[in-house]
């Protein structure tokens, strides 16, 4: 992070890189752990009229550590016909995709790992790397359930990649930049009809885009109602069927860490990211933002992320699964035409005003 230069410490390149990687580790694992505990353990339990884990620590809060300890001791079984090398590689690719994705998330005015000019473009490109991991996991297992799950996952992620990309274009048109910091700045320093009390969060002006993006995120994360690739009543566990022990846990961590990072990107694109409306403190541009935002910014982003994940999980726990053909029809015949129209309407309004 360029926080280092704010603190006026001159670190060598390797130390900066080490700090960045450690920061990235926290940025991946902390949201993943929180999401699993708060939503998967507790919220799901409450929505199903039960308490969830209560024994490990107060209100079961140490359950995560117990789980990791348990998974560490599980035997690592792989089918004898499996393609062993890529079978073992697949979970690592899924996790690597999450790490590559978090590299682009800005947490504050100076708290970022990388600040690409084409940041959101990079994020969209890297997010599809996990499909590779899922597809080769399905293929390498030499299991019919896994193969079907992997193929379903590929078909689904292909179909929902497009609405996601097209929904993001609306935001890029409004912000006039693909840089994530510029998008955050444009929302918080913006105004709606001259009123800047809320800035200009794109969830208000790009509402259609936001809905499309959230649906696509739900599908990309293979959360119900889009969980056909791992549909337990049809395919046992889809592409994860043959994975056991810690390799399964890596898939699991990857799934929820990716949920966290996607939620962060959604809040950066549509909810103002790490910022608060700049008018509250009289800031006008990135340079005038006070330094304490580097500390408070990550907390604000984390809060917004939790809100977005709450919605994703709420939908997940509430709706039954789509059928495979319904899923494809919905993407190609509803979401893509709407998002193309959304792009043109946004562009016309942008030029008109």
């Amino acid at each position: 992070m360029s926080m280092v230069s704010v603190l006026a410490v001159d670190l060598p390149y390797w130390a900066q890189s080490l700090l960045r990687v450690l920061g990235g580790l926290v940025a991946v694992l902390l949201p993943a752990g929180t999401i699993v505990y708060v939503f998967l353990f507790k919220m799901m339990s409450f929505m199903q009229s039960r308490l969830g884990p209560m024994e490990a620590g107060p209100y079961g809060s140490m359950q995560l550590f117990a789980e990791v300890g348990k998974w560490l001791q599980k035997e690592d079984i792989y089918p004898e016909r499996a393609d062993k090398f890529i079978f073992k590689l697949a979970p690592l690719i899924v996790l690597a995709s999450t790490f590559l994705l978090v590299a682009v998330v800005p947490f504050g005015p100076d708290a970022w790992f990388t600040n690409f000019e084409a940041g959101i473009f990079y994020a969209l490109a890297v997010s599809s790397v996990s499909v590779l991991g899922i597809l080769i996991a399905g293929w390498a297992s030499a299991n019919k359930y896994s193969l079907l799950g992997g193929l379903r996952a590929a078909g689904q992620l292909i179909a929902y990649e497009l609405p996601m990309v097209l929904a993001v274009i609306g935001v890029v048109i409004q912000a006039g930049s693909m840089n994530l910091q510029d998008i955050v700045l444009a929302q918080n320093a913006g105004s709606i009809f001259g009123w800047d009390g809320l800035g200009n969060p794109y969830v208000l002006t790009q509402f259609v885009g936001f809905i499309i993006f959230m649906i696509a995120v739900q599908a990309e994360l293979t959360q119900a109602p889009f969980d056909m690739p791992i549909a337990e009543s049809e395919l046992v566990s889809g592409y994860m069927t043959e994975y056991s022990g810690f390799r399964f846990l890596i898939f699991f961590i990857g799934e929820f860490a990716t949920a966290g990072v996607f939620a962060m990107i959604a809040s950066i694109l549509f909810l103002g990211g790490w910022g608060v409306p700049f008018a509250w403190f009289g800031w006008t541009d990135m340079d005038s933002v006070d330094n304490w935002m580097n500390i408070v910014g990550p907390l604000i982003l984390f809060t917004k992320m939790m809100l977005v994940v709450f919605v994703v999980m709420w939908v997940r726990f509430s709706y039954p699964r789509f059928r495979e053909d319904q899923l494809q029809r919905f993407a190609w015949k509803v979401l893509i035409p709407i998002s193309l129209v959304n792009i043109m309407v946004t562009a016309i309004l942008k030029v008109a005003f």
Binding site: G24, L72, K74, E75, P91, A142, I169, E324, W332
Partner: protein, 121 residues
């Protein structure tokens, strides 16, 4: 090395970090876990009965046309992104140009729709 390339080097470190942390945990797990493979454990899981035929069974890949359409639309998105960042400068001219572009693509989608390739058979 320029600042530009350095920021991409960070991406490489992040990718390596993912492999490193996963390998570390898997190594730790290798020290703790038992390893007693038996014949029954290692056969492919098929809901409890003995697996029938090959694991890589023939299955119909229904979405190769979808995949082709996906490539077309993805390339389209690559063209739209730079236009979207510069829309303010191009104004009306850019709007008309992109209107034509998107209209042609929508026409293609409608054609595919009418041809019935958007059905998951």
């Amino acid at each position: 090395m320029s600042q530009f390339l350095r920021s991409y080097l960070t991406v490489v470190w992040f990718g390596l970090a993912a492999f490193l942390i996963a390998s570390l945990l898997l190594g730790l797990s290798a020290l703790l876990r038992p390893n007693r493979p038996t014949r029954e454990k290692l056969i492919a899981y098929e809901s409890g009965v003995d697996p029938v035929g090959e694991g890589w069974s023939q299955s119909q890949i229904r979405y190769y046309v979808f995949a082709l359409l996906f490539v077309i639309f993805d390339v389209e998105a690559v063209f739209i992104f730079p236009w979207a960042t510069q829309l303010e400068r191009y104004a009306g001219f850019g709007l008309v140009e992109m209107g034509v572009f998107v209209a042609v693509l929508l026409l293609g989608l409608v054609y595919a729709w009418r041809k019935g390739v958007l059905r998951w058979i």
